[in-house]
């Protein structure tokens, strides 16, 4: 499994995302630039320039027409994927830590930071796909819904199946389920160790369950419907990101000692690896080395044929899986296949 090294960023990566077809990969970093890449060969398609601060988050609409980014410059920007034009800028009072399109692409959620007297919020914006001639006017000025997190600020959030729920991970290690229409909190579960924040939430393809990655060194699989904890994947390092692989029953975790603790950590290899666990049996089955800093983000190709990781070291590594990856199977799985 030879990785393709994408070295387009000058600073540490914050998030990477495949589009639904999996042919494109978008990456954002602290260096204010959004990059788009061909996932097959790692060639850079282009960049989207305009943000004034570190970009924390990126998402691409399900039809790969619009791209949304959230930044430390307190804005969410909407871009025309094809032309690179900035279509819309929404201003917020604080930095935007996470954006995600709803499954049908009609809405976008944005998680805003708690700072300077402003509480953390999750804002929902309606998205207009325009006239099909490259004209995306007009976009709604104000969010159609605003959820305020009074207890503990949300650090990440995503959409449940049918766009029915908004699931948020909090700074205190808990996970919330909100009604996506009314914004009411329906459930709150202390899924991770108290006061160790959740750094990532990614969903299964049908969005009935999701994986959380926490600073408490574990990743957990939760049910979207009732937030029941289904599986736990323990590791030996704080986790920044986790993803669920389609096609094979694995999960990929990424992490490593936080950047601010790196000086007190040995530079030894061993922590800056992508870890593969079996989704059902919770066993660790393999690791992929390469980064020389913590992994800040991992993403998997929607067809389950490749994955990419973005690190504190400023690199994105794209791996296309080998045959052995697909062939590997537990004896009990093989038995079930035969039946």
């Amino acid at each position: 499994m030879r990785p393709i090294l994408l070295s387009g960023h000058e600073r540490s990566l914050n998030q990477i995302k495949f589009n639904r077809d999996g042919d494109l990969l978008f990456s954002v970093a602290k260096d204010k630039i959004v990059c788009a890449w061909w996932s097959a060969n790692g060639e850079r398609l282009g960049t989207y320039a305009g943000h004034q601060g570190a970009i924390w988050t990126v998402d691409v609409s399900p039809n790969t027409v619009l791209l949304a980014t959230g930044s430390a410059d307190n804005t969410v920007r909407l871009w025309n994927v094809k032309t690179g034009e900035c279509v819309k800028v929404w201003d917020f009072p604080t930095a935007v830590k996470r954006v995600e399109f709803s499954p049908d692409g009609t809405k976008l959620l944005a998680v805003t930071e708690k700072r300077m007297g402003f509480l953390g919020t999750i804002a929902v914006l309606d998205i207009n796909y325009g006239d099909g001639q490259g004209n995306f006017e007009p976009q709604a000025e104000e969010p159609s819904l605003r959820i305020t997190c009074t207890e503990s600020k949300a650090t990440v959030a995503g959409w449940g199946y049918m766009g029915k729920y908004i699931i948020a991970g909090h700074e205190d290690g808990s996970v919330s389920q909100y009604d996506a229409k009314t914004g009411d909190q329906l459930e709150n579960v202390q899924a991770h160790e108290f006061d160790l924040q959740i750094n990532d939430i990614q969903f299964s393809p049908d969005r009935t369950y999701f994986i959380t990655a926490s600073k408490d060194k574990t990743a957990k699989l939760l049910s979207t419907r009732n937030l029941a904890i289904l599986k736990t994947y323990p590791s030996d390092t704080p986790l920044n990101s986790a993803t669920i692989t389609p096609k094979k029953d694995y999960v990929i975790l990424g992490g490593g000692q936080a950047a601010m603790d790196v000086t007190t950590t040995s530079a030894r290899q061993g922590k800056f690896e992508a870890r593969f666990y079996h989704k059902v049996f919770e066993d660790e089955i393999g690791r992929v080395r390469g980064h020389f800093g913590p992994l800040n983000t991992v993403a998997v190709h929607p067809a389950g044929t490749a994955y990419a990781s973005g690190g504190e070291d400023g690199y994105v590594r794209v791996h296309h899986f080998d045959k052995s990856y697909f062939d590997f199977m537990y004896e009990v799985e093989r038995e079930q296949m035969r039946r």
Partner: protein, 622 residues
């Protein structure tokens, strides 16, 4: 039971005795837990204590399988935990004092309320306990604790474990000696402050440079009412076993001490017999910088490691002066073939072999420590008694600094601990059952390196009491990198790794001495093959069971998962029906400029054409 005179004041003072006699209530008899219950394990497994984070747990060692928990308690101790020498008690240390735990459920056994206690030492047979605190004890009037005015202002208490009462208390010398001069490194606490003779009949303390005070148990009275004056005494060690010297009939305990060169008189190593306080053997030494005393576990030998400087005091070398205690007249053998200084020495338990680690002098200003050499010594085979000690082999260019013998002898682990750059652990066999090198024919050893493993950041190496397993660990008391512990067999095969956050202590529970007689032990050794067949069978069976169990759990887990997925799918389509949403509601909304929905094209093949200019020529024709 002894009542102190002070007790009259304490219990009998006016107002403390009630006018009317009330018969004391006799509490109903409660069966106590068996303090050695762990020895009855069917599989003869060993226990260990594990201190990590705020939690202390006791576990059974299950080889490569996860250890089986016995108890696990949060905040069980404030400073550290410690087993008693025969494994009966586990001591936890708190600001209020020391608490002993024991029995199958680790219930409270005894309390020793020494406030702000910092160090704890058991006597060899677990009858007494010494505790130390830097803060002098303050006894308040009328307090209910078992401390009396006698303990006021003291630092050290010697306790009787059976009664839980203090026997006698002392002020530690280091503190009364006054503050050391400015700039001098702070003096380390001399610990153990009180050293026990192997049979616990005596306990002794040294006032450095002046004398050794020997106390008799159980009364804790000063032997012969005076301390033994030894000018300049630097250190002493009791023989770890009761030795019968040749030609000596009466009971005695031996202790070995040394004094440095004072003026023109030479340095001296002496062997003292107790209770007579007679010095039965001395040896004079010259050009001595430092001396370390190492008794062999049966008291057969005592090795005096003498660091000597040349006349100019520029170069250093080490001599080993080995006293053959059990032989007539206590002959001394000198091993002076070592050119470098010895930084570590260790006798084989119950054996006559030893390992030393030597190092050259550190180059001035060098960033890395100098390389070390590991040397193995064994006695020559010569008649019934052991012959002279001869070098078996030297292994050069090592970084090793620590020696850990198996408690049963024969196997020895040589490791590099507390190092930033090197962490190899060598497993040696001293009696390899294979071809022997020609040159070593006459030696009672056949040395073989079995395995070398690495354990990053290793700080401690611990043999289990049976000599079957070795645990290497990296404690967060020393550094915070990759803390945890790893279990190996005696031969260095790694059985299990346990990375553990905030790992502090791993302690095997010691075992009491075997109850089998010498003959019975011999019998067991003879029939070992038969026994091991049985055990191998058991092991295989256990593995089979475990494998089946794993497969069964996996089957169950997988079928549960598929069932859950199916249920979710059904619920999801139900939901869609209820909300009147189409089945493909989560599909991307088609924007007008998006490409029309296409059939599944299958995998797209991206073809790349790379053109490369191999060579460029420019020719002018004309």
């Amino acid at each position: 039971m002894v009542n102190k005179l002070m007790d009259i004041e304490r219990y009998g003072r006016e107002g403390r005795v009630e006018e009317e006699y009330k018969p004391p209530t006799v509490e109903a008899f409660k069966e106590k837990e068996h303090l050695r219950s762990w020895m009855g394990d069917v599989h003869a497994r060993d226990q260990f204590a594990l201190y990590r984070g705020d939690k202390v747990g006791v576990f059974w060692n299950n080889k490569s399988n996860p250890p089986e928990n016995v108890v696990d308690r949060a905040h069980w101790t404030q400073l550290f935990v410690q087993w008693s020498p025969k494994g009966t008690f586990l001591a936890s240390v708190h600001p209020q004092g020391v608490q002993l735990w024991g029995g199958a459920s680790f219930s409270k056994q005894r309390q020793f309320p020494h406030p702000f206690v910092q160090l704890v030492e058991f006597s060899p047979n677990e009858n007494y306990l010494t505790t130390w605190s830097a803060r002098p004890i303050q006894v308040e009037e009328g307090s209910q604790s078992s401390l009396s005015y006698e303990e006021d202002g003291k630092n050290i208490i010697v306790w009787d474990i059976t009664t839980g009462k203090p026997l006698r208390s002392f002020v530690s010398y280091d503190l009364t000696a006054g503050a050391s001069a400015e700039g001098e490194p702070k003096k380390k606490v001399q610990w153990p402050a009180f050293k026990w003779s192997s049979d616990e009949k005596y306990v002794a303390r040294m006032l450095q440079g002046q004398s050794i005070s020997i106390y008799e148990l159980p009364r804790m009275n000063l032997l012969g009412k005076t301390s033994v004056k030894i000018d300049g005494v630097m250190d002493f060690e009791w023989s770890p076993a009761t030795v019968a010297r040749e030609g000596v009939k009466q009971y005695e305990q031996l202790l070995c001490f040394w004094t440095p060169e004072i003026g023109s008189s030479p340095a001296r190593v002496g062997l003292m017999s107790v209770p007579s306080k007679e010095i039965v053997r001395t040896r004079n030494l010259f050009n001595v910088s430092d001396v370390k005393l190492h008794w062999q576990s049966q008291g057969t030998y005592v090795c005096v490691k003498v660091d000597r400087h040349s006349k100019s005091k520029k170069s250093m070398a080490t001599n080993l002066e080995i006293f053959r205690v059990k032989e007539k007249g206590v002959p001394v053998e000198v091993v002076d073939s070592l050119k470098d200084t010895v930084i570590n020495f260790s006798w084989e338990p119950n054996g006559g072999r030893f390992v030393v680690i030597t190092t050259g002098e550190a180059a001035q200003g060098a960033a890395v420590a100098p390389k070390t050499s590991v040397a193995f010594f064994a006695p020559e085979k010569k008649g019934p008694s052991a012959g002279n000690f001869k070098l078996v082999r030297v292994v050069d260019k090592k970084n090793s600094n620590a020696i850990y013998w198996s408690p049963k002898g024969r196997f020895v682990v040589v490791a590099t601990v507390h190092s930033q750059s090197s962490y190899d652990i060598d497993f040696w066999d001293m009696d390899f059952e294979g071809e022997k090198a020609e040159g070593e024919k006459d030696l009672a050893a056949n040395l073989q390196l079995m395995k070398t493993v690495e354990h990053y950041g290793v700080t401690d190496v611990d043999w289990d009491p049976t000599g079957r397993y070795v645990v290497t660990s990296a404690s967060s008391w020393t550094h915070s990198m990759e803390n945890g512990w790893t279990l190996h067999t005696f031969a260095g095969q790694t059985l299990a790794e346990h990375p553990t956050d905030k790992f502090k202590q791993f302690l095997w529970r010691p075992r009491p001495a075997t109850l089998l007689s010498k003959e019975e032990q011999k019998q067991v050794r003879k029939n070992l093959r038969e026994y091991s067949k049985e055990f191998d069978e058991e092991d295989r069976y256990a593995v089979d069971i475990a494998n089946t169990a794993v497969v069964e759990t996996r089957k169950r887990v997988l079928s549960e998962w598929t069932a859950w997925l199916r249920q979710q799918k059904e619920l999801l389509s139900e939901d869609k029906e209820v909300y009147g949403l189409p089945e493909d509601v989560d599909e991307p909304k088609m924007a007008k400029d998006a490409p029309p929905a296409t059939e599944d094209k299958g995998e797209a093949v991206v073809e790349e054409i790379v053109e490369e200019i191999v060579e460029e020529h420019e020719e002018i024709i004309g």
